[in-house]
Symmetry: C2
Subunit: 401 residues, 2 copies
């Protein structure tokens, strides 16, 4: 078919395409402007609080201007961190040299920070979430909604639980997620980036202007330097956010072996396929498009595989022959490479469910990290030798397509 014919074929559909309208960002209002609070004030927590406070200041028809941010209280040269943030308008410990809006108020009291909030944004280290949520139980508005900026899920013997589902289970409020290719220092400096917000409209949605929906969330997080796409698929972005760290270990291995860019790209391709398959197998409601089209999917995978802790640890493992645990101690100053934990949890889950063979890359990363399988075996562990066009449907399923 000539390209001109193809064009005619599709022009009818395209003529219906939505066009950008400058007014579209300003039509959303609320009967009672929403109160927004942020739980967490590390570098990513403070950065997201800055984004949110910039938007609430500009949109009084939709949000209360003041944003409270819970700060784990600590003393900096004898002065409480919250007090420094509220006078100097900088988080001198976790996000130095970045000016914060003066409508962002640091608060060391978790309950005071969240009790009146209509939207609670969680942005704390994974390991603190349980204790924080336990304190909040029964102390917040039952009509509140939440967004979790924590990435990923927990894998236990009973299966895979999304962190957002954990919040919903513990607090009884709907919880979405925010995830994307977002290295915090770059977002804080207002270098352009993108993110994905996922939120499922709950059955008890109270109606336009009375409750949080996708348009409200776009207004809350979108900035000229921080482009937001809002979707439904909370599971998809959570799975991608966790499993990318396992893929990053694989990238670090081939980088440390000196195999170059082709091999690193191959690991990312295979990894994306296994992420998609994992999502479809265990969260069939997640959408394939989330993984290959959203910032929280392919873009976050690319950023994470470009550098960061997991790649660094795995590269060092390849170069020195040391264990992951040892390298973590040697080079991360007490921080952890999340992929080391996730790849073990995923392996245990896949083993108990009998699915290790369907995830050869995840399994290879596990075997290399914990079972002393030589790294140079990686290609043969993920090699597909068979080709049979009569089995294409089965193969497509197997490849996660």
């Amino acid at each position: 078919m000539a390209a001109t014919d193809r064009l005619n074929q599709t022009s009818d559909i395209l003529s219906q395409s939505m066009k950008k309208t400058d007014s579209s960002m300003s039509v959303v209002t609320a009967e009672n402007p929403y109160k927004v609070s942020v739980v967490g004030s590390g570098n990513w927590g403070t950065t997201i609080a800055k984004v949110v406070a910039e938007n609430t200041k500009e949109k009084p028809e939709l949000f209360q201007e003041r944003v409270d941010m819970w700060v784990f209280e600590e003393q900096i040269d004898g002065t409480p961190l919250a007090q420094i943030i509220n006078t100097k308008h900088q988080n001198v410990k976790y996000l130095p040299n970045i000016d914060l809006p003066d409508n962002l108020v640091a608060n060391p009291d978790l309950i005071a920070t969240t009790k009146d909030a209509d939207v609670i944004v969680f942005n704390v280290p994974h390991q603190f979430l349980g204790r924080i949520v336990a304190q909040m139980k029964g102390q917040i508005k039952p009509t509140a909604r939440a967004v979790s900026c924590l990435k990923g899920f927990e894998v236990g013997p009973k299966g895979v639980q999304l962190l957002s589902d954990y919040v919903t289970q513990e607090l009884g409020i709907e919880c979405g997620a925010l995830s994307g290719a977002n290295l915090a220092p770059e977002v804080a400096k207002e270098h352009w980036s993108e993110t994905t917000v996922a939120y499922h409209i709950p059955d008890d949605f109270k109606g336009d202007g009375k409750d949080i929906d996708h348009r409200v969330l776009k207004q809350l997080f979108h900035r000229p330097y921080f482009h937001v796409n809002v979707i439904d698929d909370v599971a998809g972005i959570s799975i991608a956010g966790a499993l990318k760290n396992v893929v990053a270990l694989g990238c670090g291995f081939v980088t440390g072996l000196g195999w170059g860019n082709n091999a690193a790209a191959a690991i990312q391709r295979v990894g994306l396929g296994e992420i998609i398959k994992f999502g479809r197998m265990f969260f069939p409601e997640s959408k394939v498009e989330t993984y290959y089209q959203e910032s929280a999917g392919v873009a976050d995978l690319i950023t994470t595989c470009s550098g960061g802790r997991n790649v660094r640890v795995a590269t060092e493992m390849a170069k020195t022959g040391k264990s992951g645990e040892q390298v973590e101690k040697d080079i991360l100053n007490g921080q952890s490479a999340q992929g080391l934990v996730t790849c073990k949890e995923v392996h245990q889950w896949l083993e108990s469910s009998g699915n290790t063979e369907d995830f050869p890359l995840f399994e290879a990363v596990y075997q290399i990290t914990y079972e002393n399988v030589p790294m140079k075996e990686l290609p043969s562990m993920i090699e597909e030798l068979d080709i049979d066009s009569t089995s294409k449907c089965v193969l497509s399923y197997k490849m996660g397509l």
Copy 2:
């Protein structure tokens, strides 16, 4: 739904998954083993000829051992290059220090190289293809089949033509394509990588054991260090192979501006979406999976955006404010950055077809490169401000999903 329930749901399907069988690589035979020739002997041409000759040597039941490689004749210190290759078994000019199999025979006579071939592998610079094909017309077996390792397509006033279609049109033989995340020097050194071969079985297919099919192509190109997936979608891998260079220019711009990894990942994400949309709009027979699941799709995009000429030229444009043409002269030693040509051709085609608004990234790269639009405008040029869940289908189409 609990993960265990999800698992039970899918276990029936998965139990049908194909398992790897070690014997699957050795069951393909030919009544008359196929003669394979390679046209081209640059670094990528010689590398692919090495791969192919290694396989023909190991599989006498399927291929004639000797592989002829056409070499554009030139003198190296007074000795013809072909003669050096055939005595030293190295391509000292274009792929030095890589040993070639002794069943790979360099031949400066194009017609002698290809007249008896059952499979002709094209691997020459784009600009020489027309002249070479013209010489071969009427001089080859009418039953021959071809694979083009040239990436991309040509855009003219009448539309987009795949290079493989051009070969078919000129020579009357079916032509597939090979493309992937394949920096030639790494493949030549046998560092692990992957590639995609696409081939459409023609209507005059002569039957198993008598003609080239997907299994034969896998046998011809797959090596332990060079993993091959064979698919049908010639259009998909050709489109991805051309448009990735435009995306790489965008990556170079944001890198040169110092915007960091988030921005580079965002460009790749948006670029992948526009590649998919371009494919679906102008080659509706191409498959979305090709772009996000194949080495020729997302992996080649990642590798190309990690470095290479297009990124280097665009980065330098950002840093110096010079034109693309000027930077090309300054830093590429007479080589060209293909993205500069492709982005202009694509713009002209989209303009004539009235579709520039549907490809904001491609258009932004064009405007920056040729119309003096400031690079810092890039984010606002691709910003999606509107969100309207009632228009989701239209939006999804617009996003290329």
